[in-house]
């Protein structure tokens, strides 16, 4: 076990990936609590697909992937939020349409440029090796910004999540904070999909929050528990991925599933 850890952290790229991954897991878990409670879980999934489309287009046209896709996904986040606010059912359908449209555009963009299949596979399922030094700097600073914003506006985020109309009446700019949550989610997803992959990043948002809600009773304990669960699952996933030579993103998701099932069982234990 110890020797495995030493071996793991002797690679520079592993240290980078673990650093970025841990930060992204933390951001995703914190934002996830608000998104799941607001019934916006699917927005994370839709945004991940948009991010995939944007990254493929960026690769095909030669733009820097993160610099190009962050603004695209942020715009998509605002759009989806606007649609969901207006009508619940239409919002559902809009997410499905935007997801598949972005996926289609991404696949076509990727196919236009030969030799891109490896990159596309990496974005679909995530790859730790795909992180360059520049990516790491950008990812770390974006994640830190997300964390700081979340901590600084924690009380407002709680009020807006629990009851938007009340917060608005009391004098809080509820729409502004909704937009802030969408913005932070968009950034987290773009940064995180390099490691987790398009298809799996939304689990990083949804699972820790759901797991924490099995047993925690206050908002603060849910937030703290979700963050802890997310970090523990990320590290266990990474370890398992090296020990058994299985894909990282998928291992992290499986670790999250195990945590969710154990917490669900724990919640059923009579006290």
């Amino acid at each position: 076990m110890i020797s495995l850890l030493f071996e793991l952290f002797s690679y520079q790229f592993v240290v980078r990936a673990v650093l970025v991954g841990a930060l992204v897991s933390l951001c995703a878990a914190l934002l996830g609590v608000s998104l799941v409670l607001k019934r916006y879980s699917m927005i994370g999934d839709g945004l991940a697909h948009v991010a995939f489309g944007a990254l493929s287009v960026a690769l095909a046209t030669g733009f820097a992937p993160l610099v190009f896709s962050v603004p695209v996904v942020v715009l998509a986040a605002f759009g989806l939020l606007r649609i969901s606010e207006n009508s619940k059912i239409k919002g559902d359908a809009a997410i499905a349409v935007i997801s598949s449209a972005a996926l289609a555009i991404g696949v076509i963009a990727a196919s236009l440029k030969k030799g891109l299949n490896v990159d596309v596979y990496n974005y679909m399922f995530g790859s730790i090796l795909a992180m360059s030094r520049g990516d790491v700097y950008l990812s770390v600073s974006l994640s830190c910004v997300v964390l700081l914003f979340f901590l600084f506006f924690y009380n407002k985020i709680f009020a807006v999540t629990f009851d938007e109309d009340f917060a608005f009446a009391a004098g809080v700019n509820a729409r502004g904070y909704n937009a802030l949550i969408a913005l932070l989610t968009a950034v987290t997803i773009v940064v995180g999909m390099r490691i987790m992959g398009t298809l799996l990043i939304s689990s990083l948002i949804v699972f820790p929050a759901l797991t924490a809600m099995r047993i925690c009773k206050s908002f603060r304990s849910v937030v703290i528990c979700a963050a802890t669960v997310s970090l523990v699952c990320f590290f266990s996933g990474i370890l398992a991925s090296f020990a058994f030579e299985i894909p990282t993103g998928a291992s992290v998701v499986v670790a999250n599933i195990i945590a969710f099932l154990s917490f669900s069982l724990l919640a059923r234990v009579p006290r």
Binding site: L37, K38, R39, L151, F152, F153, Y154, N155, K156, F158, A159, F162, D163, D165, F166, A167, F168, A169, A170, G171, V172, M213, C216, K217, S218, F219, R220, S221, V222
Partner: protein, 234 residues
Amino acid sequence: MSRLVVDSLSIDYDGRRAVCDVSFSLEKGEFLAVVGENGSGKSTLIKGIIGVLPPSAGTVSLSCDGRPGIGYLPQQTKLQRDFPASVREVVLSGSVASSGFAPFYSAEDKRRAARYMDELAITGLAGRSYRELSGGEQQRALLARAFCAARDLLVLDEPTAGLDPLISAEFYELVARFNSETGITTVMVTHDVAAAVHCADKILHMGSAALFFGGCGAYTETELGKNFTGCRHD
């Protein structure tokens, strides 16, 4: 000067005109009860007053310093009923706007939350999870939160929906006491016309348009009032 002035307000909701040309004004400290049948635009009017729904025509103006602080007690949504939050967190969130951009609640915010939890007899529930409470206890937590937020106006949308008559009567009593002690203008939607006449200063009877607006005494003398209070003597 009037505290709340609603001037020829119309609001469209779900493609139809739910509130049609309603005008009234309230002085500081007045207590208005909004009554009327289901679908008569009571809740839409309330959402127009707090600013969640934009007016299609007319204006709502609230005289206050800076951005208005309205304590709002909404009709509960399904989403809220199973929300993981402690009662303390819910009540404290009533002060969410008073701290401006500061990331934490001030000592004054905490004192206010403690005072209203005490007044509503939910101090013992402070650490309990909101989703484990009974309907009446949840409603008390939301009322304490609304009290914390009500700097200029208190707006209650059917505060006693789903509560038994005894708890309802107690609830009206609490609201009336808050109104008279703090002098904060209060607007309350209710189905209970008898209670409305008992504790409010003015009555607004809605039927998309304002069918009646005035004092309680005058209201009980109208045909409308007689029909709704069940005091017809003919």
